[in-house]
Symmetry: C2
Subunit: 336 residues, 2 copies
């Protein structure tokens, strides 16, 4: 049997109450006794029983993180940061993978979240109503890279990211730019489309933005978008995320189109894969680690106030090898 607080108290010759205080509220106990208890606890290898503590305090020491896909580098980066920050704050992290299924997300939040000190929810696609529902019946909940009325959130500045990318491409001389969108219903994709519409005016003369529609936010989605981009005669393509950008890169190469000589490609997120390919991806770098850390901080001590906190983190375009000025001639027709 594990060593309990009573054992420690007995061995130290104090009451369980004092032993408890010596460990959890050191100020309330006389210095010498406090040290005695702590030493005895250490010698006996005492480990507080979390369940017992939770039962009385109502706090579990657990945070719950729900993501659509743990294997997506965007979310593993967030998960890593969340985990690190939570540990620093004395919390363990229960991670749940919702398998890109909004229904499962909702279930996970209500099940797992019920007995956690808070929930971090990465839910790009759950409907606002469902979001409100799951938020209603539980404890603290914070949205990551998603906003919704009445709920606290930490997001990246999706809109500005697209703006930066477009400005960059325009400055290089591109005039016909395609956007390869993410999955339908994606909140961040909607924000990015807003950024697309932001700057068509006199500041970026002659700009022509082509919408390639919605795609799965993975490699295959980018592959599909590549053909559409070529058909549309774009000299540059902005992808919803880096995974899609890699798909674009691959398909363009297959079709004999050189990147960046013939067509430029820009990703989004700066996931770790962005520098693993050739040409290295020009991409909108999202501060994923900071996103995770901020989310934990805000969840654990929410700022007082009527309105739930809404934080937007700045993003920054990182120019690498996948963008260059467009060819003077239109991109070569595909060989087949």
């Amino acid at each position: 049997m594990a060593v309990t607080l009573r054992d420690v108290a007995r061995a130290a010759g104090v009451s369980p109450a004092t032993a408890s205080r010596a460990l959890s509220a050191p100020d309330l106990v006389a210095p010498e006794r406090r040290e005695l208890v702590r030493r005895v606890a250490r010698e006996l290898g005492y480990r507080p029983n979390r369940a017992a503590r939770e039962l009385i305090t109502g706090r579990s020491g657990h945070l719950c993180l729900v993501v659509p896909d743990l294997e997506n580098p965007f979310f593993s980066a967030v998960a890593k940061a969340v985990q690190a920050r939570a540990r620093a704050a004395g919390h363990a992290v229960v991670v749940a993978d919702a398998e890109e299924d909004p229904l499962l997300e909702a279930e996970l939040v209500s099940h797992l979240g019920a007995q956690a000190d808070g929930v971090l929810l990465c839910s790009p696609r759950m409907s606002p109503d469902d979001l409100a529902d799951v938020a209603a019946d539980g404890g603290p909940l914070l949205l990551v890279n998603r906003e919704a009325a009445g709920l606290p959130s930490v997001v990246i500045d999706n809109r500005d990211g697209v703006r930066q990318a477009v400005r960059h491409l325009h400055a290089l001389g591109h005039r016909r730019i395609a956007y390869a969108g993410g999955p339908p219903g994606s909140w961040s994709d909607a924000r990015r489309r807003e950024g697309l519409a932001d700057d068509p005016g006199p500041r970026l003369p002659g700009l022509d933005v082509v919408d390639l529609g919605a795609h799965a936010p993975v490699f295959a989605g980018g592959v599909a978008a590549a053909d559409l981009a070529l058909a549309a005669g774009a000299t540059a393509v902005l992808a919803h995320n880096d995974l899609m950008a890699l798909g674009l890169l691959d398909r363009l190469r297959t079709r004999g189109v050189r990147v960046p000589d013939d067509v430029s490609v820009v990703g989004f997120d700066d996931a770790p894969v962005a520098t693993l390919v050739t040409p290295a991806l020009t991409t909108v770098a999202a501060p994923l680690a900071r996103l995770g850390r901020t989310a934990v901080d805000l969840l654990l001590d929410p700022p007082r106030g009527d309105e739930p906190a809404r934080v937007a983190l700045p993003v920054e375009l990182v120019v690498r090898a996948s963008t260059a000025p467009p060819p003077t001639a239109p991109p070569p027709a595909a060989p087949a």
Copy 2:
């Protein structure tokens, strides 16, 4: 306040004991009462308090997974599978990232593991002694892709994987093959080196294996190894993992060496990145999802017997575009 079992019992007009049984041991209660209790529980939105249950049963419903780096696609794949299988078995998963630090790993295991129903430990580098220590003071523990005396484990057949890769390269005609090793002290790297030594005999005539030494198991490690491989005059390089193989690919290209025309490259793991690059990586596919699932199964119900279970999962070489017959001429000297 949350609705408790007493509330349900009261509302259903039964004793708390009956209510408890109706939900946790349905067979012990009369059908009509059982259904009544369950209906009432549902209507009231009853959620059992995990802490209270854990306090008395000693089971938390939590598994703990410790990995060196959540961002490494090898481990995110394992984590995803573990999480899915654990959920199917009614368990939540506490994930801990040890930041590639064996000391932190040990601490995480003893802290987090103390109050979990079991621990899954991915610890390529912890010393056998430390492993024995952390295993000693806790509950069930199972090693993932690592073996140690007296501890249950699930591994992939590292040795055979290397054998398959070498045989493939030899069959293509390569005679001088370099191995870019993983970090010093890595258990799986040691197994792979054994595979390297396995087949130098008459079955693979003329084979010459060059050891490029130990490297960080990441992109940068592969970059470093590439130069060594060229200096050694190898026509093929086998990397400790896919991340390193990507580094090799990148550096070889930079130095004007074509893959696979001049030099062939083989990865290990078949992490999701392997197909994201050009040329697509020939690699030893490790069944990562199966690794995770098997680990959970074995942890939750260990086979009875004196010896702890040791399972080795088969691997399979996946030939893609990064390997080809060697050039008849030696690889071109690097341009600078």
